[in-house]
Amino acid sequence: MTPVQPALLGIGVVSTCGVGLNALWKKVLSRKQPEYTIDEKSGLLTYRADAAELKRFMQPRRLRRIDPFLRMALLAAHLAIEDSQLELPQKHRVGVLMGSGHGPLGNTFGFQDSVIDYGEKCGSPLLFANSVHNALSAQISIALGLTGPGHTITAFNSTTTEMFRAAGCWLESQMADYVLVGAGEEVHPVGQYVTQAEGATVREDANYPLDFDACNYRPGEGFVCMLLGRKPHGKAYARIQNIWTGKMEAAGRSLASKNALFLAAQGDAREGRHYKRLTAKRSPAFAHAAYYGSLCTGDIFEIALAARAIRENHIPPEGATQFQKDSLDFQSRERTIDCLKARPDGKVHIVRLNPPLL
């Protein structure tokens, strides 16, 4: 990790549980799973998100050419800034670092649709422009007037971790005073088809996503943005103490036994075997995909929930999965949470959060 330990100053969440981190947190507290839809073609349980509230921040006229994926990202970005209660007068000192596992799939396939349906001469320029992955950072920078450094990352299961690592570098090198980071995915029928073809089963049992032997994948969509700063202020949630990436064999040594674990497990058996090994004889471990769904940037949802838990000094029980039946308060423990993401190939990412030092 860089010597700078970025502070999480504001968090914006758009998920199937609703708009805002509070909506997601309340659902976790309720121990009830959110409503899902059942995809007609694949039969998969699917978690959809709604970004209609974006009209609170942007005029409908400005949204005419903005697709659902970008709307989720824009809403999460606005919410994160609002949550931080910061004015950010020096917009050129605020960086924008966005990421996704697969980019805007709706626009990617939408452009292909325009070519297939109307011929190569009539491909939609708008859909092509919006299918470029950095439409994410571009539209957010335009909407919020942020003119610091800007990158977009597409690194599948490593997106969230590498995004935080890059943000730490920007802060440490003084390239920016604040960095708005964000990641998420959109559900698309092609993704549903592939998921089904990969052998995902449709089960409504309570052990999703922690039946590590099963492929019980529930496609989810949503977006999380966070405002990071070099130093915390009074409202800061947490700080990122460390980021570690390495092979499965070494990951166990990097996890502190006293820390709570938040797993970005998403019901994929190829990853599940690694979580199984890493959590064996280790507690407490929590996973919350049952509240936001399976997506390769799910770790940013876990980081958001870990930040909230640190602020609340309390981790609610894992009602939805019946994996971690007891709640946890931090009185007898350090308020440190390791957010863990295991990839199918056995590479592991750990983002360690602890309280902000004011």
């Binding site: 292909q112 950072s137 990158h151």
Partner: protein, 414 residues
């Protein structure tokens, strides 16, 4: 500010101008270019617009890959796409020049940062067309896409452990990847970094850029008064970056120093650059600040220079305003085409090589100066007397990146 010095110890390149760096520079210095109608994909467009394709030379890289993974692993998706074959070809050239054996690199903390656009997008036309027709297509192409994220693929191919990132920042991706690798080294996240960009030609981008009406029907003419648009290209440009102390310890000469990196957003328009180059100016000043020098020290610029009316006007004016009308500027896209996510990597390689050779390549196709661009690139290769050079990258969405390189004396250790 950090006291870590980031040195370039190896460079590799493959593009429409040639299959390795010496061959490419030879062509650039002799103003030889090879635009042609596309043959690496099919198109329905009646008047195909020229592109710059990589020569047919990727088979050796494919053979090396087949030694790395077994047949089952290759079939499961490790079989590389064209983008990654080009990335590997350029990376091998860079690694050899840097004097690193693979087994030695594997014992170091080596980061991999690559920029791309096509290389990380699920754009498999036949698969998608079959899916649309309810034909339940085999998901092999999707598995291959999932296993071919460029930075991840290269790191896995070489079995490297360190930070690993694929930046999809449109046309500035390669430059941003190199800039981020510099920050990794300065933050001690790794000791060595493999950084640059790679991108292949595809029917999707070809049709997409046609839809945007910014491709030219003839070979491009960056900064020319009569320019009509860009030509697409493909390729890869890779640098081996390492801390000066690492290079010194093994007696490796540095090819140049990466002295500064700037990145700023325009926050202006989804596809057009800011007309006054707001983000570009800031990125430029940021790179100068990192290098601890002033504008007067910069000897030349390898411009983004796409040959589109809007880019060249905004960039040319900004450069003239910052450095003066007679500032040496060229656009090597006139030899490579616009290689999108690879462009920043390829042009970084050319910038370091220009400092080493003290030669500024011509801008092929440039004939008549455009008063709106102000700057006038050379028609023939020119001698340079430059200690510092910059490489600009401007992207869709208003991303601007500037890489600032410093000349090191030939054969000097850092």
């Amino acid at each position: 500010m950090t006291d870590v010095q980031v040195m370039v110890t190896g460079m590799g390149c493959i593009c429409g101008a040639g299959e390795n760096l010496p061959q490419i520079m030879e062509n650039l210095y002799h103003v030889q270019r090879f635009p042609a109608p596309p043959t690496v994909f099919e198109t329905e467009l009646e008047t195909p617009r020229p592109v710059f394709m990589v020569p047919d030379c990727l088979e050796p890289a494919r053979k090396r890959v087949r030694r790395r993974w077994n047949q089952k692993e290759l079939q499961a998706g490790r079989d590389p796409n064209r983008t990654n074959l080009m990335a590997l070809t350029a990376a091998e050239e860079a690694r050899e020049q840097a004097g690193w054996k693979l087994e030695d690199l594997q014992r170091k903390r080596v980061g991999v940062a690559l920029g791309t656009t096509v290389g990380c997008t699920l754009n498999h036309g036949p698969f998608y067309r079959a899916w649309r027709k309810y034909q339940n297509p085999d998901i092999g192409p999707v598995r291959r896409y999932m296993q071919n994220n460029p930075a991840d693929w290269l790191a896995d191919c070489w079995q490297l452990e360190g930070p690993c990132i694929t930046i999809a920042n449109a046309c500035s991706s390669g430059a941003d990847a190199i800039g981020l690798a510099k920050l990794w080294l300065e933050s001690d996240l790794c000791d060595i970094a493999i950084a640059g960009g790679a991108d292949e030609l595809s029917n999707i981008t070809y049709v997409g850029f046609s839809a945007l009406q910014i491709t030219a029907p003839s070979p491009c003419k960056p900064f020319d008064k009569n320019r009509t648009g860009l030509n697409l290209g493909e390729g890869a440009g890779i640098l081996v970056l390492e801390k000066a102390e690492e290079a010194t310890a093994r007696g490796q000469a540095a090819l140049g120093k990466l002295a500064g990196f700037g990145s700023h957003l325009d926050a202006y328009h989804p596809t057009a650059p800011h007309p006054k180059g707001l983000g570009l100016r800031r990125a430029l000043d940021q790179s100068l600040s990192q290098a601890g020098i002033t504008r007067q020290a910069i000897g030349f610029c390898n411009a983004h220079g796409t040959s589109t009316p809007e880019n060249d006007k905004a960039e040319g004016r900004t450069l003239a305003d910052c450095f003066g009308e007679d500032f040496p500027v060229t656009s090597t896209k006139s030899f490579t085409g616009h290689t999108l996510g690879a462009a920043g990597g390829i042009e970084a390689v050319f910038t370091v090589q220009a400092l080493r050779d003290q030669k500024l390549t011509a801008t092929a196709g440039f004939q008549e100066a455009d008063p709106e661009c102000i700057i006038r690139p050379p028609r023939q290769t020119l001698p340079l007397s430059a200690r510092y050079g910059i490489s600009n990258s401007l992207a869709f969405g208003g991303s601007n990146a500037v890489l600032l390189f410093q000349k090191t004396e030939q054969g000097d250790q850092p």
